[in-house]
Structure formats: C-alpha cells, structure tokens
C-alpha cells in the first residue's frame, strides 16, 4: 500500500512495465505512530478539513478519520508552521512515541509490474457550474457531498441538519437533480447515474433526523434503474418526500431564505421558497484523467473518461492496462466493486504464467500441544495505549488486580501492546513463563486481534488460546469523565476474560481441499464469458445449457447502442468456447442434483432430448449461476393480438432484416409496458436504451419516420444520454405519462389506435401509427428450481439475491456459488460481461488456492445430544448445517467449509447440542459468573 504517492511515469509493455512513483513525505514515521491523536490536540495551526468537505476545521497534523487505513497521522505541508515558516515544532516533543520526523524527504520508487489497473475514481463538478444556484454566494446552498457530511453522525455537525446562515433547522428543503450532469452547458452531456439514488437516500436520512422537514426533489427523470432501487423511491414518496418533474432555472437569496425558480413540463414558471437547497452534483472525470492518459497512453472518450468497448468494457486502448470504477464511466458502488473484481480476473488471466511468484508464504514454528487438562498458565498484558487508556484508567492497578487472580502466571503493563517491540516481549514472556493462555487488555479486537493472534502463532501457541479485552473503547473513551469507575469496569472485564481464558482450548486450523473445476449453469453471454475467463486463468469448467445451442439472448440482438455489431461478436465468443480445451459444453442439459459444499461439490447433470436422458456426475469446486432471463410478454396493448404491435426485440429483428418497409413511417413506442408496478414490479434497466437503439436505427434507414415515445422516466443513464439527446435533435418526440393515466391501444379495422394524454399540450391525443413498439422488460428464467436445488435465496422479483448488495455483488449466500447476468437482475450486455468476469474472479479464488480455510470458530454438533429436530438446518442462512442419518437416526452436522460462525444454530438448539468454537456455553457461562463475582476490586 503506497499512500501519499504520485504516479509519475510508466515504461515498458504488457507483462513488463516499470512505473515511477513519488512518495510524498508524511513527516510521521508510520511504524512508530500509534494514532493516539495527541499531536492534533497540541498543534496550534488551523487547517480546513477536506475530508469533511471544508465544513470543519482540523490541524495540519491529523488523520482524516478514526478508521483511516493506514492508521497513521500525517502533516499537510501546505499549512504546517514548521514546513512553511520553520517555526513551532510543538508536535515533536508532544509525541510519546517519537514518530514525528521533519527530515523525511520525497522518495522516488520504481515498481516492476506485469499489469496496471486504473481506478482513480471521479472528479468534482466545477463550482462555476453551480453559481447560478447561488452556490458560493449563499451559505444555505450546499452540494450533496457537503450535505452528506452534515447528516453523518460522526461528522462535524454530529448529524444535525441546519442552515449555515444562522444555524436554524430548515423547515423546507429542496434537492436539485442533474447539476453538472445532462448539461451541455458545462460539456457534461452524460448522466452521472448515481445522483438520483443519493438524493433519495439523503432525503430519507433527513426525514429520519427530522420527520417535520418538508422535502421536494426537482428532477427531469428519476433514474432508479438499479436492482430494487425503485422501491426506495416509492418508500420516499410514501413518507411524504415530494418529486416534482421540472427544470430549475436558478436559486436566488430571498429575505433570509432562498427562492427557487423552475419550469414545469406544461410550460409554467413557478417560484418556491426554501431554507436549504442541496445540489445533486454529478460525477466529473477524475481531475488527473488527462495526466494519466498522457503517462499511460490510454485513450479517453470525449468527456475525459477512459474509453472502452462494450464487448470488452474494462480493456483500455493499451494492452496490459485495464480500468475499473468511475473512471470507466460514472457508476455506483456495486457496479464499481463488480468492475474491480472483473479487472482482477482479466489481470489474473493475462499474468497467469507468473501467478504466485510474487507472494511469499509465511512459516510458523510447530504448535505446542496444550491438552484440555493441562493447568492453565495465563499471561495478562494491560496496555497504556500511550495515554489513551492510562490517562483515565489506572493501568497499574488493573494489572496488579489481574496478577492476584487464579491461574495468572504472569502479568505486566505495556506502553503500546501493538508495537513491534511489544510483540517480541510477548513472545519472550510466553516462552519464559510457559504461558498457555494470553489475555491482552487494550483496544478493539476488531483491529488488533489478528496481530496478537499472529504473535501467539509465532511463539508456537494456537491462536485461539487468546482473549482480548477492550478497555480503551469500552472504558477510557466512554467513561473519560469517571476515571475511578472506568478502572473498576476495566477490572471487571479483565476478570471475566481471565475466567473465560481458563476454559479456552486450542482449535484446529482446518483446510478443505478444492476440486479445481467449475460448473457454469447457463451458456448465454454471462456463462460463456465466465467460463472463458476461468479457462484463461487455467481452470476447467463444465458449461451446461438447457437449450439446443449456446449463445442465449445474444442470438436475438443485432447491434448495440454504441453501434457495435452483436452477431459477429457472438460468433467469435462461441468459437472460443467450443475451441477451448478447458471448457466442456453440454447442451440440452440440466442440473438435477447437487451435493457437497465449496471446494467439493458433486452434481448430477441430465442431458439429451426427449424422455431418455443420460445422467452424469461431475465433481467440481465452485458453481457459477448464469441462468439468464427472457423478454416479458405482457398481455396488454394488443401484444400478440395485432401484427402492428411488437416488442422492441421484435422490432430490432425486423430492422436487421432486408424488408424494404422494415423501418415504418410512424411508430409509437410505449415504455414500461408491463413494468414498474404492473405485471412486473421493477424497472428492467435496459428498455430505454433498447428503445433508443431502435430509434436511431429506424432513423438511419428511414430519416422521415415519425417516432413518438411515451415514457415514465427515460433512464438513459451514463453515456447513453448522448443517444437520447441525438434522438431529440432528430425530431423524435418524448412524452411522459403518469402511472394512473397509461396509454391505451385499441384495434381500429386493420389499424391500431393509440390514445394517450399529452402532458406537454395538456390534452388527450389519438393516433393511428404504422407500428406500436412495446418496451416490455425482462423476467428471470426459472430461478425456482435452482433456488431449491442449491438453497439460494431469491428476491421478491425472483432474481437471485446476492450476499451483500454493495460489497459482495456476485457472491451468493451459499459459499462457492456465484451469480452473473440476468439471473441476478436485468442489465445490458456490457454490464453482464463485467459481472461474468467478476464472478469468474470470485470463483477462481478457491481454485487458485487449492484449499478452503475453515475459521476455527465454526459450530460443531455433539451428536449424542442432538435429537434431530432440524431447527438448526431450517434457520441456517448459509445452508451450512445439514441433517444426516447416523445409525438410522436423524442428526445435524455442520458443513465447516460453509459455516460463517454466526451462532444462530447454537442459540436455537433446544438440547444445547451445538457449540461454537471459542464461544462454548462453558466459556460464556464462566465469563458471566465472573461478572457477578465482583469480590474486592
């Protein structure tokens, strides 16, 4: 991890690059800094805090936020008195660990790397663009990023929403959407794809803080096209947040408030007063985009984002350099996370030959055997944490108190238990006093438990013979004003930990071997891409397809919105898949049974046409679910009843044909036909782009064609917005309709008639177009069967539910099972390809390692006590506890490799047959008893 580093140069070619990096000095020795924060308290100079968007003041010597990684302070040279004027240096003697070093110099480093991933993020919209909304002129006009810091409980206002002008709580608030996006005035024609979501989020959070505040969101289109995103908008409307479709002209100061001028669709100009106005600013290309492009020679698009191609969305114009995140185009967190995993898999494939060569594995001394009946010899280390703990808690008294406890063989105090020399001391004391349990009373196990467990392993002790007490967060910090009580509480916690430590045992470090093969279910573009990527990484897969041939929905598509030809790409994909020695394709096949767990699945696949199906069993380590989706066929708008009503997919096919009249003279397109609260409860994300793609094609073939699009929100997010603008310039008419006033299509002789309310003219219109094209949405292809077979949860809309919507977007809750493509949710081809590559990255991880590590704290079942009720199996969210027949009786058994050690099974077992490693009933009860046995403190 090289922070405070500037990227200066890149030489060489794919597989053999040399990057030059300039490491700017932090002026603080990272190894010595304990992040105690004393320096910031003493530093006399003010510094505007960029982390808090300038809403707070910090000091030149600071850390951005408590959880920052690395947890090392730094000095911002721009305002440090010493670095600017050679005075002050107060921080130097204040620092207890002598970490401050003004002699640090910038250091240039050369990195030899085989590949580069560009993930520089996004930039900020130029404040000039915001001026017309009085930003910078009136303190109560803020950007959404500033507002985010305001609503943050740990932020400078502790979550209190107020006006900067006079500190009053706003009664009326407005959000203005598309500030710096979809705005050719500032050369940002694209949609930033995230602002609608964050505005809704911030509005909801504000309502939580103050239910009385009146909030209006001014928008052009609400683009909540992501999976289950529309539901949040509905939730916002339900709690009274108002959505007004309007273009805001300006914001001007008005008495002590702000006046917002806006124009609605019907041409009316209106004014509204507000106390606080939040600008939903878009995502700009990163500030140093051009510099990165100059250094790496990667091409940029016209908006200075990284230029890529729809069929290879992360590959830059330079071999060996891929892109991920917002630099590829504005996007939200899950899309960024997905792209990152995909970028990792592309890179891993390109560097397959040198995999593992750069990584050294650490070795440990042989583990000392600690038998259950060995006398416990406990060492207790109590930490001062500089003065972080010791300024409140009487550390010596806590250590002495521990020393008097039974089985405590050794006790001491540490100035910093986490320092490198303290680790050596701990190791030495373990050996010297033959300690077989270690208790450390210091800070949070969340951050430091792994470090101390590592020290135990280095000393030859099992890492589970360790107990940590958090006397910093839970004592010195929260009871800073009551030092005596904080000391008593510290003693209580230590007593409880020592009591538990008497009962803790070594737990085995289990690993489970992995069969290095994947099963990929579904051979559409998602399944094919995933299998190909795994093949490029050197892994075999069995790719099963229920249809006659591979290709999936791509067979129905002819060109993309960007103008790329689909069929030739599909052909090359199919050729690659069929030609790969790593991919075994089975068509007319379905999965009938799967047993086992991550690393060790055995699946029965039935294949063949008709009644007689051949069955074969495949052993594999992972599963990629890519079962896809299909066009929804709503029984509406005369679809299937009139030849003049077609779906966008059918229109696309017609346009790709040769018929002379394939591009009719007049078309009415109806968006959301059957979607968003109709047959389907959700937005299918692709239909607006699909409509535009067809519009541009129709116009290309027949420029005189008259096209009217009836829509609810045009969701041409990202760079697709350019196509929307282009279509409007060509004279295509876009008219929004309300959900309670949908268009009607009726048969009129040989023609069809469309009746709709024109919200612009404010009147009812009847037309008889040559063709009606419906944007019908996407439904998943039978997710029920696989969901039951593999115990995979699905959403209310029957798409597979990922393990975590933000951070684990391609993993499913069952370990070793991954999802991509339409089975996960509606998405366009480029996003499907990226998601498939991401799924391949995640699936390859256990295959590369060759084993799966089992955390020692997983559950285990005492089968004598188990009555086979099955409660645990039904409650386990991970499918990690199964019922087995043992001597003819039903007994529960933990699938260790899948267990996440959440403890639900143990908490519910009526006979206490299940226990958790490191948290047995015996251990917990002894801890609770020790809590009550206060004695003499």
């Amino acid at each position: 991890m090289l922070t405070n580093a500037d990227f200066l140069a890149l030489e060489g070619t794919a597989g053999n690059f040399t990057a030059t990096i300039n490491m700017r000095p932090r002026y603080i020795d990272a190894d010595a800094c304990t992040a105690c924060g004393l320096c910031t308290q003493y530093c006399p100079k003010h510094h505007v805090d960029p982390y808090n968007e300038g809403l707070a003041i910090t000091r030149p010597i600071h850390i951005d936020y408590a959880q920052a990684v690395p947890a090392t302070y730094y000095i911002d040279p721009s305002s440090c008195l010493f670095l600017q004027h050679e005075t002050c240096q107060i921080c130097v003697p204040v620092c207890q660990s002598h970490a401050i070093n003004f002699k640090q110099q910038p250091e240039e480093r050369k990195l030899h790397v085989g590949a580069v991933i560009l993930s520089p993020g996004f930039g900020k919209i130029d404040p000039q663009t915001l001026e017309k909304f009085s930003y910078g002129k009136h303190p109560d006009v803020v950007t959404a990023f500033e507002f985010e810091r305001m609503t943050t409980a740990s932020g400078p206002f502790m979550g209190e929403v107020k006006c900067f002008s006079d500190g009053r709580h706003p009664k009326r608030m407005a959000f203005i959407q598309c500030v710096g996006s979809r705005d050719i005035g500032c050369n940002n024609g694209y949609c930033s794809s995230v602002c609608c979501m964050y505005a809704i989020k911030e509005a909801l959070v504000t309502k939580e803080h103050d239910p009385e505040v009146d909030i209006t969101i001014y928008y052009m289109d609400i683009r909540t096209q992501g999976k289950d995103f529309d539901a949040a908008r509905e939730r916002a409307e339900a709690i009274g947040i108002k959505f007004v479709r309007a273009k805001v002209a300006d914001v001007t100061p008005w008495e002590n408030r702000l006046q917002l001028t806006y124009a609605t669709l019907d041409g009316q100009h209106k004014f509204e007063p507000f106390d606080l106005v939040v600008l939903s600013v878009g995502l700009e290309s990163p500030k140093d985009a051009r510099k990165i492009s100059d250094i790496t020679k990667v091409d940029l698009n016209k908006y200075d984002f990284c230029a890529t191609n729809g069929f290879n969305p992360l590959q830059t114009s330079q071999e060996g350099i891929v892109v991920a995140g917002a630099f590829q185009g504005p996007k939200d967190i899950p899309e960024s996370v997905t792209q990152s995993s995909a970028a990792a898999s592309l890179t891993a494939a390109s560097l397959k030959k040198v995999r593992g060569k750069g990584v050294e594995l650490k070795t440990y001394p042989e583990e000392q055997v600690v038998a259950e009946d060995d006398e416990a010899r406990i060492g207790v280390f109590v930490c001062h944490c500089g003065i972080n703990i010791s300024s409140v808690v009487d550390v010596a008294s806590v250590a002495n108190y521990a020393g008097d406890m039974k089985n405590v063989t050794y006790y001491t105090e540490n100035l910093y238990s986490c320092s490198q020399d303290a680790q050596e001391v701990i190791k030495k004391k373990i050996k010297e006093h033959k300690l077989n349990r270690v208790v450390i009373a210091a800070c949070s196990p969340r951050t430091h438990e792994p470090l101390f467990q590592e020290t135990l392993r280095d000393a030859g002790l099992n890492r589970n013979l360790f107990e940590m007490v958090n006397i910093r967060d839970q004592c010195s910090w929260v009871h800073a004003g009551e030092p005596e009580l904080a000391t008593i509480k510290s003693k209580d916690l230590v007593r409880m930990a020592v009591s538990k430590a008497r009962h803790i045992q070594s737990l085995p470090e289990q690993t489970v071997p992995v069969t290095p093969k994947a099963l990929v279910v579904g051979a559409g573009v998602a399944g094919m891409t995933a299998a190909l990527n795994l093949a490029e990484q050197g892994f075999d897969s069995v790719l099963i397809e229920k249809g006659d041939s591979i290709g999936g929905n791509l067979k129905n598509l002819h060109h993309t919105l960007a103008g790329d030809e689909v069929q030739s790409h599909l052909k090359s994909l199919v050729t690659k898949v069929n030609g790969s020695k790593h991919i075994d394709v089975i068509c007319n096949a379905e999965l009938v049974q799967t047993a086992g767990f991550i690393g060790n699945f055995a699946s029965v696949i039935a294949s063949g046409k008709g009644q007689t199906k051949a069955e074969q069993t495949v052993d594999h380590g992972v599963i990629i679910v890519a079962t896809g989706g299909r066009e929804h066929r709503p029984d509406k708008y005369l679809l299937g009843k009139s030849k003049k009503v077609v779906t966008q997919q059918e229109l696309e096919k017609q346009l790709a044909g040769k018929a002379k009249s394939r591009a009719p003279g007049s078309i009415v397109m109806i968006q959301c036909a059957g979607s968003r609260g109709d047959d389907l409860n959700y937005c299918s994300k692709v239909c607006c782009n699909h409509a535009l793609k067809n519009i541009l094609k129709v116009k290309e073939i027949n420029p005189d064609s008259q096209i009217i699009v009836l829509y609810r929100d045009m969701r041409t997010y990202g760079f697709a917005e350019d196509a929307y603008l282009e279509a409007r310039k060509m004279g295509v008419v876009f008219i929004p309709y309300e959900v309670d006033r949908k268009p009607e299509v009726t048969q009129k002789g040989a023609k069809v008639q469309v009746r709709f309310f024109d919200s612009i003219m404010q009147e009812e219109v009847v037309m008889a177009p040559d063709l009606v094209a419906l944007s019908v949405g996407i439904v998943p292809d039978d997710t029920d069967t696989l969901s039951k077979l593999l115990k995979l949860p699905v959403t209310a809309n029957k798409f597979f539910l990922e393990a975590h919507v933000k951070l684990r977007p391609v993993e499913l809750s069952v370990s070793g099972v991954y999802v991509c493509g339409l089975a996960h949710g509606p998405k366009p081809v480029d996003e499907t390809i990226v998601q498939a590559q991401a799924a391949a990255a995640k699936a390859a991880i256990p295959l590369v390692k060759g084993y799966v590590k089992v955390d020692p704290i997983v559950s285990s079942v005492e089968q004598d006590k188990c009555i086979g009720c099955g409660l645990c199996t039904s409650l386990c969210p991970y499918g990690a506890i199964v019922m087995q027949k043992v001597d003819g009786k039903r007994k529960a058994e933990t699938v260790s490799a899948s267990c996440k050690a959440c403890g639900i099974c143990a908490a519910h077992c009526p006979t206490f047959a299940i226990s958790m490693g490191g948290f047995t009933n015996e251990q917990l009860i002894s801890q609770i008893e020790a809590f009550g046995a206060t004695g003499d403190r």
Binding site: G114, T152, K201, A844
Partner: protein, 62 residues
C-alpha cells in the same frame, strides 16, 4: 501481503485506492498476485469513506 522484493514477478500496480482499487487489490492478492496499491491521498478509502449511509438499504458506509 509479504515483503517487497526487487524485480518481483507477478506484481500488479493499481492506481487509486478507493472502493474500486481496494476491491481489485483484495481479489488480486487472493488470486495469487502481489499488489502495489498507489493512492495519492494519505489514506485509502476514497469517496466511500466520506459517505454516511448507502442507498438503498441505508447501511453504514464506512
């Protein structure tokens, strides 16, 4: 991540330590590669570390 070596084979540079860069780094190390995560600011985390909650579940962002 092991110790830095000269002319290390199988290394990748990731430019930018926001959520995208961090995730790519984690996955690449799991896939058997050494990663240099190059970040211009003093800490990794990027913009996501500045966010309070995340849409649509309003989970904590940090």
């Amino acid at each position: 991540m092991g110790k830095a070596m000269k002319n290390r084979e199988g290394a990748v540079m990731i430019l930018g330590g926001g959520i995208a860069g961090i995730q790519a780094a984690l996955d690449l190390t799991d896939l058997g590669f050494y990663v240099y995560l190059v970040e211009k600011s003093p800490a990794v985390g990027g913009v996501m570390a500045q966010l309070d909650k995340t849409f649509p579940t309003n989970d904590c962002s940090l």
